[in-house]
Every structure is written in structure tokens, then in C-alpha cells.
């Protein structure tokens, strides 16, 4: 958010004390409301009182404890339900994490990474207000390591300290293949995907749907990265679900189910997912870039 626009984002806004938290929250909420974005705020009583005064009651308030007690995917669904026909196409969420309710920082590390993944799949602009005067350096380091974007002087900047999620493999499950593909050799690439996905146990119908989306994903990433000679790809299997990822160094804009991309290359990828009901596509952060994760869903859930 650089002014009046509203786009999916997971950002951290550092502040010093409650008054500054209220000022930042009010600024964010006013901009969001002006852009036509509904606003949900999980904030303490002081910030709530300030926001109520400064936004003429247009903000929906929710309890902070929900950030601990409600599973984040379910909470994200609740946030998204506020979207309706909002012109901005994004729900703005402002959070003050109740660290006292969950003192273990590991919990919050997981929560922040989960939020980043959820924002990649849903029309959400989530801002976490982090007080630099509370909680010690570990809490600040956690915030710096887990938010892709920082709110600085009224504008978003990429977070240089973001640490990509660690652990093998990023998509979970058993690694089936980890390789590089020449994006210009599309027919050979399709044969490669088919062979590996056959080995992963996918039937022909699911393979064909997945390969269509992967073909478009490789083409999209190649276009975004400026026609590189090779792209890194991975395939993992977790039970009957198979996940494939294509890594994009330069970053890929989020693809939202309800928002038709204006860029033709992104549109082709977005349409490919639309015709493949047993496939899901998510754009997830990966360092300074993105991972395009394409999943062949469990046939019983597809």
C-alpha cells in the first residue's frame, strides 16, 4: 500500500508505544477505507478507541485473543468474508498480537509464516503492529524475519531481513524431484513433468491438469525472470497430494481467484488453474522472489 491503493500484503509496522500504534493504525485504516477496502482490527482497547474516533465507526473490531484461539486459515476465511462487493477487492486487517496469551515465540513464528502463505492465496492486506519497546530483541528479530514487507514512513518497503521458511522441503511431504528446466524446451519439460508425476502415482487425468498449469507457470516465471536459461523446480508428495513448485527470482504478483489479472502472461496462468478443478495454485514468498506452488489435490477433496 503506497497511498490509496489496496493490494494483498503481509507487513509489519514497528511503533514505539500505544499512541504511535494508534496513529499508524488510523493512517492505514483511513487509506484502506478511502480505497474501498473493508477493515477488520484485532487491537487493544486503547487503539480501538482511537480508531473508532478517527474512522467514524467504519472499522470492524474483533478480539485479540482470536489471533491465538482461532486457527489462522479459519480466521482468514472470516476476514475474507467481509469482502462482499468491496471495490478495492481486498480486506484490510490490523493486528496487535497478544503475546501474553502465547509467550512461546515459536508459536508466533509459525503464525507469521502461515499468515504470509494465507495472504498469497486470499485477498488480504494484513498489518502487524509491533511495539519496539516491548518483548525484547527476540520478538523484534522474529518480526523482522517473518514479514515480507515493512511499513516505513507511510509506505511499504521490501523487508531485507526476511528469512525464507526453512526445513525440507518447503511444500512438505516426500521429495520426488528437485531439478532445473530450460523454459524454452516446453515439450521436453512436459514429458519430464509427466514422467515424474507418473512416478509420484498420479493418474493420467490429474497429470494432464497439473502439467497444463505447470507449463503455464514455467512460462510465466520465465517471462517474469527475463527468459533465464534454467528454472528451479521441485516435486513433493504427501500422501495422495502432490505439490510442484516453480521458483521465481524476481517475484510474482499474487493471483487471486476473483481478480482477473491484467497482465496477459499472468492471465494465461490464472486461466489454466480455472480449467483444472483438481489443481490449486498459490504464489508464496521465497526470499526476495516467489514460489509458484501447484498442487494436485487429493481426488476425494478436489
Amino acid at each position: 500500500m503506497t497511498g490509496t491503493d489496496a493490494a494483498p500484503v503481509h507487513r509489519c509496522a514497528f511503533h514505539a508505544g500505544r499512541e504511535q500504534a494508534g496513529a499508524i493504525a488510523a493512517d492505514l485504516c483511513r487509506r484502506a477505507l478511502a480505497a474501498g477496502s473493508p477493515v477488520v482490527a484485532h487491537v487493544d482497547d486503547g487503539v480501538q478507541a482511537l480508531l473508532t474516533r478517527r474512522t467514524a465507526g467504519a472499522v470492524v473490531f474483533a478480539p485479540q485473543r482470536a489471533l491465538v484461539e482461532t486457527p489462522l486459515p479459519a480466521l482468514a476465511d472470516v476476514w475474507t468474508s467481509h469482502l462482499g462487493t468491496a471495490p478495492a477487492g481486498v480486506v484490510t486487517v490490523v493486528c496487535q498480537q497478544p503475546f501474553a496469551l502465547a509467550p512461546d515465540l515459536g508459536h508466533w513464528h509459525t503464525a507469521e509464516e502461515t499468515t504470509t502463505a494465507l495472504v498469497a492465496e486470499r485477498p488480504l492486506a494484513v498489518t502487524c503492529l509491533i511495539d519496539t519497546g516491548e518483548g525484547g530483541p527476540e520478538r523484534l528479530a522474529l518480526a523482522r524475519a517473518t514479514h515480507p514487507v515493512l511499513w516505513c514512513d507511510g509506505a511499504d518497503v521490501p523487508n531485507p531481513d526476511l528469512v525464507p521458511p526453512a526445513g525440507p522441503p518447503p511444500t512438505g511431504g516426500v521429495l520426488v524431484a528437485d531439478s532445473t528446466l530450460d523454459p524454452g524446451a516446453s515439450a521436453e519439460n512436459r514429458r519430464w513433468w509427466h514422467a515424474r508425476l507418473t512416478a509420484a502415482g498420479l493418474d493420467r487425468t490429474r497429470r494432464e491438469e497439473l502439467v497444463l498449469v505447470l507449463h503455464e507457470a514455467v512460462g510465466t516465471v520465465a517471462a517474469l525472470d527475463g527468459a533465464p536459461p534454467a528454472l528451479r523446480v521441485r516435486i513433493t508428495r504427501d500422501g495422495t497430494e502432490v505439490a510442484c513448485e516453480v521458483r521465481c527470482r524476481s517475484g510474482c504478483p499474487p493471483l487471486l481467484p476473483h481478480a482477473v489479472p491484467g497482465d496477459r502472461r499472468l492471465l494465461l496462468l490464472w486461466l489454466a488453474e480455472k480449467v483444472s478443478p483438481a489443481v490449486s495454485l498459490a504464489v508464496l514468498p521465497w526470499g526476495a522472489g516467489s514460489r509458484l506452488v501447484v498442487r494436485a489435490l487429493d481426488p476425494d477433496r478436489a
Binding site: 494432464e208 497444463l212 480455472k274
Partner: protein
Amino acid sequence: MTGGGHAFVLLDSEEAHTQVVGDFVVEGVRRGECVLLAGLGGREQRLWSRLRRAGVVGEGWQPSATTAVRLVPPDPDRLPEAVAGALAEGYPGVRFSGAITTPGVNAFEAAVASLTAEHPLTVLCPYFRSTLEPGQHEALTALHDTEVDVAPVYDDGVFRLTRRGELLYLAGELDSGNADALRAVLQATLAAGGRPASWDVADLHFLDVGAADSLVAAAAGPPGLTLVGASRLTARLVRLLVDRHPDRAVDLVDAPADVLLDGPPDDAGGGALR
């Protein structure tokens, strides 16, 4: 090819082999004949997929000694026994083909020459043009009853376009990076002189979004486009693209369906599939 005879064909790609030999097999099965195949050399799955798309076998079908389509050893001396056995089972005719990828005249030629004279046997000898030796085309012409002309409108080894009458046959894989192939389809469509375009896409096993969008945009305006035999995925893709552009109209028509059976024909009338 109709029943009986000994023909050869010159192929320029694997896609051509799948299509031409596939058609030969499908025609034989539809006539109720037994089809013997030798020396496919790893082309089996492509061919079985072609038979599946044509509707003459089901998902996961595999040949055996009792199915209407059979693999026989690449040994010319054992072919007479296989032909005689099929005829003894009640098949009204037998077909024989495979894939000839080695230089020179194939060793089966001598064996089938006498068999076609004695039995209701139809033989298609598929030679790859790239393996022909100097003067071999003339030798093959002298050795066979006919040469089957399968010259494509376009064939780059990945995508193949052929025309039969008003119908264009799109086979293989077509993606938006293959500008030559897209151009070939559009030019062949325009050559129809303003008549509604009809494309058989039953053998088109990959079509990406960009290629589909380009083709539908160019061909689906007046006078309209009919797609025959589109896979479920291709049909969904085309419908999605058409829905985004109300000025486009595409009719999706199923390929002719067939009935699968499991034994020799009850009579010589043909049409039974195993």
C-alpha cells in the same frame, strides 16, 4: 486402406507414426479384423493412447494373445502362424503393421508378400523417411501394391496438421511458443474460403492456454468453429475462453463412440471391437 493388400507409407515423425498406424489399427478393429503388430520399439503406449482416444479400447487396456490387437514377435518366420491362428479363431481378416526404423528393405517384406496372396491379410509397412537409403523409395514402390500418401499440412515432430476434405486434424502438442504451428492451423483454416471451420482434435493431447486463445480468437468468429473429439480438459479450456468473449462461438462435438467387446466376432460382418 481397405481390406487386403500390401502398402507402404513414408513417415516424417513419431506423431505421424502414431496417427497413421493408429488409423490403420482402428480401421481394422472397426472392420472386425485381428490386428498384429511387430517391432513397435517402445511406441506401444503412444499407440494404445491413440486407440483409447479413438474409443476402440478403454483406459488401461493392454494387448494379449486373445485381444483383437496383438503384439507378435519381430520374427518373419512366425508371422504365418499368427495369421493362420487369427483366421482360425473366426476373424474375417487380419492386419499387420509395426514400425520400420532400420535402413534397407525390412525382413518382413518377403514373408508378407506371399501371405497377402494367400490370406485376407492387409499389410501396412511404415518406413521412416529419415532411414531411407538412396534408391530405396523406388524399390519400395516396386515391392508394394500402393504407397499411402500421408503428406501433412504441417509436421514438426511435436505437432502435426493434416487435412481430409473439409476437416483439419490437429495431433500432438500445440503450445503458444510454436508460432509456425499456430500459423499453419490458421492458414489452413483460412484456406477453407469462409466456410465454417471444423477441427478434429481427438489426437491433440496438449493445448496450452495461449494457443487455445489464439486459435479460438481467430477461428471462432463468423462463420464459426466446430471442434470434434476434444478431451475434457481441452473442452473446458475452450469453453472458458469462449465464455470470456461472447462474440466467439465454438461447437464441441464428441468423436464417434464405439462399443468394446472381448471376443472374436460372432459373424463376419465386422464392427465388433475387442
